[in-house]
């Protein structure tokens, strides 16, 4: 196949664009889609401080690199989840990326700083580990951003992530979640703005970007995510995409452009009555926020006699 732009040998074909690209024009394609996402949704304004939530995987490292390439100067934030060798390798990839480029990387370690890890939280709550992981990430990314005065938290959610989450939300008609699912969540008191500049790029593209840029990322999948619902949705969506290229993009972009606004009131209702958490001070609709309740639950289990 030949590059759509220069007709040179292609390295990646993207069926939803009915196109293939050489290395240089593929990298440019990625930059263009991120630039467009930022511009269309007013994600980052002049002079704002940005922190990228970095896992050491392909998406977050591609995002950090792409933002740097577009002239932004984001710092990174790595959260140690305590998932054995997987976390060791992920942390190494994040640190190496930052070190090699002279970038600032904040680090938070669940075990050292908060007294629990994800496997322990899953055992204590008798729930899938991904729930405790997502809760911890959402809370701490925001808390660290607010503490250090960042205006924007950028996450590496890609088109496939957004399509899978959207499918899950639609299947259950989670209207409040649909109202919050958007490339930008505006800043509100106690919350930094959250942005997803990769939402126009598929995960084949973010993986290819890292490969072609020579970015060493954690290739292995999180062992705790194996068989989870999110991966099941992705499998279904990829089967659709294989038969109908462009299906995932049409699903997500159509929602963002034409449907999302119908659900914003549902999401807004959930944010009414926010107060400070009695333990950590973060905004919450309860007396104690979900993160502190999780910590308390894991801690009481660790303290209980065996």
């Amino acid at each position: 196949m030949k590059c759509r732009v220069c007709r040179g040998p292609a390295v990646l074909d993207i069926r939803r664009h009915n196109a293939a690209f050489c290395r240089d024009h593929f990298l440019k394609h990625c930059g263009e889609h991120v630039r467009r996402a930022i511009k269309d949704h007013d994600m980052i304004r002049a002079g704002e401080r940005v922190v990228v939530a970095v896992s050491g995987g392909k998406d977050s490292l591609a995002l950090w690199d792409l933002l740097l390439g577009l002239g932004y100067a984001p710092d990174g934030l790595y959260l140690g989840l305590g998932i054995g060798e997987y976390s060791d390798a992920s942390g190494h990839a994040a640190r190496a990326f930052a070190h090699d480029r002279g970038l600032k990387l904040h680090e938070v370690d669940l075990a050292a700083d908060f007294g629990y890890d994800i496997p322990g939280a899953a055992a204590a709550t008798h729930r899938a580990p991904c729930g405790a992981c997502g809760l911890s990430k959402r809370h701490l990314f925001n808390a660290v951003a607010v503490e250090h005065g960042y205006d924007v938290v950028a996450t590496g959610h890609n088109l496939d992530d957004e399509a899978a989450v959207l499918l899950g939300n639609v299947l259950r008609w989670e209207t409040a979640y649909l109202g919050r699912q958007h490339p930008v969540l505006p800043a509100t008191p106690g919350f930094a703005r959250k942005v997803k500049p990769l939402y126009r790029l598929g995960e084949r593209e973010t993986a290819a970007y890292c490969l072609l840029q020579g970015i060493d990322y954690q290739v292995e999948e999180c062992p705790m995510a194996e068989g989870n619902r999110h991966l099941g949705y992705k499998e279904v969506l990829n089967a659709l995409e294989d038969r109908s290229p462009g299906a995932k993009a049409a699903f997500v972009f159509g929602f963002v452009d034409s449907v999302h606004d119908h659900f914003t009131d549902d999401a807004g209702a959930e944010r009414e009555g926010l107060q400070a958490c009695e333990v950590c001070g973060s905004p919450t609709t309860s007396d104690v926020c979900a993160f502190c309740r999780l910590r308390e639950r894991v801690g009481s289990r660790a303290d209980s006699p065996r």
């Binding site: 196949m1 292609a10 390295v11 990646l12 074909d13 069926r15 293939a20 896992s55 995987g57 392909k58 998406d59 991904c130 992981c133 997502g134 990430k137 959402r138 996450t155 959610h157 496939d160 992530d161 899978a164 989450v165 598929g202 995960e203 084949r204 973010t206 993986a207 290819a208 490969l211 072609l212 290739v219 999948e221 999180c222 995510a225 194996e226 989870n228 999110h230 991966l231 992705k234 499998e235 990829n238 089967a239 995409e241 294989d242």
Partner: protein, 64 residues
């Protein structure tokens, strides 16, 4: 043909295209990158018996 990550040897009568290889292995092209030696290749690339090929999954499971 040698497939890596994890490394295993498979009997594939070559030459064959990336598309044909993925079809024979029942792998959805949308979920992987294919790397021939050190080079990322498109679905029409031709692979030979002697190639070392990585079929790298790109699907990640987190959605926080």
């Amino acid at each position: 043909m040698v497939l890596r990550n994890p490394r295993r040897e498979v009997e594939m009568p070559g030459p064959l295209t990336v598309s044909a290889l993925l079809e024979q292995l029942d792998v959805n092209p949308e979920s992987v990158l294919v790397i021939q030696g050190d080079t990322l290749v498109t679905r029409d690339a031709r692979l030979s018996d002697t190639d070392v090929v990585e079929i790298r999954p790109v699907t990640s499971g987190g959605a926080a």
